[in-house]
Symmetry: C2
Subunit: 215 residues, 2 copies
Amino acid sequence: MELSGGIFMVIHYPNGKTFRPQNMPTQKIKASPSKVNYGNRGMTLEEEINDSNQYYRATQKAVIHKKPIPLQIVKVDYPKRSAAVIKEAYFKRPSTTDYNGVYRGYYLDFEAKETRNLASFPLSNFHPHQIEHMRACQKQGGICFTIVRFSKSQEVFLMPADLLFTYWDQQTTGRKSIPKNEIAQVGWKIDYRIKPRLPYLDYVDQLIEVSKRHL
Amino acid sequence: MELSGGIFMVIHYPNGKTFRPQNMPTQKIKASPSKVNYGNRGMTLEEEINDSNQYYRATQKAVIHKKPIPLQIVKVDYPKRSAAVIKEAYFKRPSTTDYNGVYRGYYLDFEAKETRNLASFPLSNFHPHQIEHMRACQKQGGICFTIVRFSKSQEVFLMPADLLFTYWDQQTTGRKSIPKNEIAQVGWKIDYRIKPRLPYLDYVDQLIEVSKRHL
């Protein structure tokens, strides 16, 4: 559907979403002098990641899903001629991280966490089993990280699991949070874009390069 | 903990489980003439796979989990001084397969399915979205397959996703099930063992070799 002069026709669906042909080159959005913030228009970090994952799946760049919340189902009703209704269930503690999938032949495994702190990320946001899970995945050659959002400044970072492990292991004697400037130095700041909203795979590429050097 | 003559000391934990040192070579259990069946002692296929995955995690051979069942939560009660209770929820159709994880740097993605049929596996056991999900994962370099159990004969096979795709794509004109003998030929029969009960990763090794040759 290419028009003259390389202009593409953009189709607007009734749901307000825009369709773009898959092989259409995506324009890189550069940081404008006026610092337009494309992100966080009332979306939670989880919604932003799910939205980006949907884009990555649609463009066949990666297959990454959020895992369902684990529940302990106690009582189910089976009413006639309608769907089964769960009448009693409880939240279970997840034994893994929230997101995993496959990208460029690599297994990706990550958590998404938000903090209202300004200058550091509290380790209390993690459960010991999540740390153990990421360690085990990394041992198998998986690429593990956390997507961290500082909600007040609306800054999002990709933090390699190794940095988390370092701070986690010294928390009984040392500090109980990871400084933001260290996350920025060891990890990468993810700049918001339009499509995908959180282009975190660009930084996963860099994390893969770093991981290869350490092997 | 090696004793003389290559004999290893086996530690029995109070929970009845046996600890073996990690670098201890596991004895291959050969099919005995009396055809001892170690499997299916009242366990469902899902339980057998979960059990095997637990063993694989404990021995640091792989990190594979079953995904929680996706539910649409409608109503939650928060009683004072006790855990939140889900009072109304509905089963959602899963958008992926049931199992995934990482093994030897590879992303694994698979379904587990059982049939009471004797000579073939009906394609009606799969949903179109599961096929699409496996196709997408395989495009990213993931290793995809199905663990199929013929419940009457208690035979379990690892069936490569490619065989499923072939039959899936011709079902409107051709047959609507995959013959067992073809599953056995293209895939592998998984012999039950004690630990792990379903040693499917041995056959994943072979599937990886086959996949490499096709790249």
